[in-house]
């Protein structure tokens, strides 16, 4: 598990910046069936004709002949012969149906967003919005720093790192602003200037903290490296 995290860090810049192309997905029905028309049908008919399943004309209209050909293909390939081109049949035929790849899954990073937002909420209620983003950014800067644990949960729950973990405030549910602050920070915003520590000068007597070089002051917090 940790290996993966280090691996991700090994390509941290990539993961942060690259993501993907504007993949153009056409809007269409979930599966292709009798009565449908379009370029996808042409591809299906062409393939099926090449393999001698389809005897009709390649016209892009899913008619009776196409349906029969699909059934025949499904039977020969161990699929349920329903005459509908769903994801499995499309894969076997070798055509790509955009609508079928569009199945949406839940964002796998959602729990990290929630945890980060809870920390922001507990640590910086009453701070300006920028101060909230900065607190979230400090956590992410720590994940990237070799001096700290290499995951969001590791950094937040590191013993002694945040008092709100010790006193249970971390379990309060975050407000909308904290959630956005967490997400904005995950999207690269860093008003802290790359800080890995912060403190409230009115509440800290820790000599170590007070000796760090301050890079930004936002609201009641001093951010330092």
């Amino acid at each position: 598990m940790l290996k993966k995290i280090v691996c991700m860090l090994a390509t941290a810049l990539l993961l942060m910046s690259i993501a993907m192309l504007p993949v153009l997905l056409e809007n269409s029905a979930e599966a292709v069936k009798k009565g449908d028309r379009g370029s996808e049908i042409i591809k299906i008919q062409t393939r099926l004709k090449d393999w001698d399943y389809y005897k009709g004309r390649v016209d892009g209209i899913f008619g009776v002949l196409t349906e029969a050909a699909v059934r025949e293909f499904q039977r020969k390939n161990g699929l349920y012969p329903d005459g509908v081109v769903g994801s499995k049949t499309a894969a076997k035929i070798g055509v790509y149906l955009p609508s079928l790849t569009a199945a949406k899954r839940s964002n796998p990073g959602k729990n990290d967003v929630q945890l980060l937002a809870r920390l922001v909420h507990a640590e910086s209620r009453g701070e300006p919005y920028k101060g909230k983003v900065a607190v979230a950014a400090v956590v992410l800067n720590r994940v990237k720093s070799p001096k700290f644990p290499n995951s969001i949960a590791g950094v937040i729950y590191q013993p002694g790192a945040f008092t709100v973990v010790a006193d249970g405030q971390i379990n309060l549910s975050p407000d909308a602003e904290s959630l956005r602050a967490a997400r904005d920070a995950l999207n690269g915003m860093d008003p802290s200037g790359g800080a890995i520590y912060y403190y409230n000068p009115k509440k800290t007597w820790n000599r170590f903290m007070l000796s760090r070089p301050v890079v930004a002051v936002i609201g009641n917090h001093r951010f330092c490296k």
Partner: protein
Amino acid sequence: MSKWKRWVLPSLCIMLGLFFIGAVVWGVLQTNEKESYIRRVQSVYDSAFGQMCNGVSNLEDKLSKLLVASGTSMGQTNLLLMDAWHEAGGTEHMMSELPVSQAATAGLTRFINQVGDYCYMLARKISMGGSMDQNDVNQLATLTDECKKISTELDDIRASGGLQWALTSNEYYALSADGPHAAGQLEKTVEDYPTLLYDGPFSDSSENKKPKLMPENDVSLDEAKTIALNAIRTPGTTLTKSDELEGTVPCWSLQGTLGDGRRVEISVTKKGGYVMMMTVQSSDTQGSTTPSDEVLDDLGKKAVAYLDSIGYKSMSPSFSQYYDGLVVVSCVYTENDVLIYPDMVKVWFDLQSGLPAGVEAHGYIYNHTSRTFSAPKVTQDMAIGDLGTRMQIEGVRLAVIPTPGLKEKLCYEVLGIRDEEMYMVYIDAETGVEEQIFRILNTDEGKLAM
């Protein structure tokens, strides 16, 4: 009176006595329970400490074997490097569980993380056709010695009965080298460990990265305000200076309110007057509607035009995410149809008003520079090779991607589909080596590359 003496007083005494006995019993039970919790917590810490000690000793074992391995991908080298990386990761993980002050353990944590990172980067280099050089061998020898030293000291701590763990947060903060919870070897400073020279995300060069975009012209506070107002786009906006951010990219920080009362915060670089960061309070935080592909397409075009008007030229829209009534469009600098991924600027749009609601230009400011890339030695067909047998290829184009150690590489970006999942494979345009693979997840908050 006699009734009082005979009945009430004795029964009061009995009640008090019962209370007293009850309190004692309760107290004893509570103390026992507390002690059992303390023992349990301490055994978790002891276990983490024990595993950490084993980790360091295993790490030393792998590193010393590496010194006699061939140094090529043909033999044991890569396996040992991956083992060392794995041991370093586990050791770091166990260390982060220990209740000792982060300030005290930062040196050791950084050392272990860098050793793991270095081994991973070496394995990566070798698996892509490179080999270990004399410098690598020397560094591995130094690391082996250091690990041996750490391992011996840790063993001594364990032999002398282990460490006494701080159990409350006040105790962590009170930690000092000569305090009751002194942790010996755990408490050396960064300077006490050997310096590692290599390229990786945890290397010193990555820790101290500097912006490549270095414009000369100074921007005054008034000019910064004009730039900010142009970027905010909403009439009736008032802005005041909130603070000045020094550090690697000095900025004017401004804050204020829009005509409709929403707050805005914006930073403009003191050199060149680039909008480094902007955030506008969203008008609809409940917005959970998923924007249609047409809307996203349209916002992509709007983002490019908007960036052009605030000084980020020749950008093209890449992917977009959506949450809380906002859409974030990531735009990538494009030169001669080559996507330059490191030079990225993100633009937030308020879905309700369609107005820009945020900018994040860290990537662009840190990476943008004039680049010269020699023409690809590998042709597109050579790059694709037999990839078509493993996925259905949907498109190929050239792109510059960031590689570890703040470097860049010109690659062919091959987009393909396998089992209904989308992948992006990057092939080095110089060597034809597979540089990176991304899987694109189509999530309920937009597309994500993993």
